[in-house]
Symmetry: C2
Subunit: 168 residues, 2 copies
């Protein structure tokens, strides 16, 4: 696992030891807690949870997206997403428009109120990310992104890439 009968020095592969991999796993675990902590704190005061945050984020990112598309991005069942969407729509944060081409589809948009909350949540999350980025510099950030992308399932990477394009 560490070497491989080639001329490669075993030193260069030390980052692939079980011990290093375990540390990476633990880093993911602890960091993800920090990653969600700030929005969670804001949401705790409302009747919303993390699921609402995720919906707001991706609707904001792809205005007019259909329920089905959102479903496959979030990786939950339509029934689960529906509960979240219903409350967001009832509260006037999200607007659901019947499709012009295909009337079975619903296209989702954030209302002005929805935009305000999305902004508040993502500001909090970006603040932490920004200060982490700033403290380690662009080279580390590039590595960070590379590893995360390599960890994704193919389906997720597809979604991720297609979101990336829109912003580029």
């Amino acid at each position: 696992m560490v070497d491989s009968a080639s001329g490669q020095s075993s030193q260069a592969l030390l980052f692939l030891t079980d011990e290093q991999l375990r540390k990476g796993i633990e880093a993911m675990f602890f960091a993800y807690r920090g990653f969600t902590a700030d929005p969670d704190r804001i949401l705790a005061d409302m009747e919303y949870g993390r699921a609402h945050h995720r919906a707001l984020h991706f609707i904001h990112r792809s205005p007019g997206t259909t329920v089905n598309n959102l479903l496959s991005i979030l990786g939950v069942t339509k029934q689960s997403l529906n509960r979240v969407l219903r409350s967001l729509i009832e509260d006037g944060l999200v607007e659901s428009r019947v499709g012009k081409q295909d009337k079975r589809e619903r296209h989702l948009y954030l209302t002005d109120t929805g935009l305000v909350l999305e902004r508040q949540l993502s500001d909090a999350q970006r603040d932490r990310m920004r200060s982490a980025y700033r403290s380690v510099g662009p080279a580390a950030v590039q590595g960070f992104r590379q590893v995360l992308e390599a960890m994704m399932d193919d389906d997720m990477r597809r979604h991720y890439e297609s979101l990336k394009d829109k912003g580029a």
Copy 2:
């Protein structure tokens, strides 16, 4: 750190734009799904969930840890952890020994059966991590770890560091 009113071009700060930060947020989201997918698949066939996996992981990592310590690592309530521990102990995966110094404490250990399951779960999780690491190389991995560490809350970083030391 990066710029600072010096002659640094604004190009060098492009990694701190809201757009780049959003991509980082999405990368975390999608990657975390991949991160938990493999163990989740294994656990789906049993009566256990992700919470059991986390307990097994950290008990394996710190044999003899107390309930209280595990509590603060996992960041859940004792009632929540207790449900998980009870089933693991009943099923003979975890052993709980009364403390020698302080008899109020319970020290937790994996049994042989517990070690087998922990190994199975962490193998699956490490496989994905290893292939990601290998595909991007050690420099990227270093950046990955740096960003994650910078994202943690101080409490979590404390736990993380103390686990690191044991393995070093």
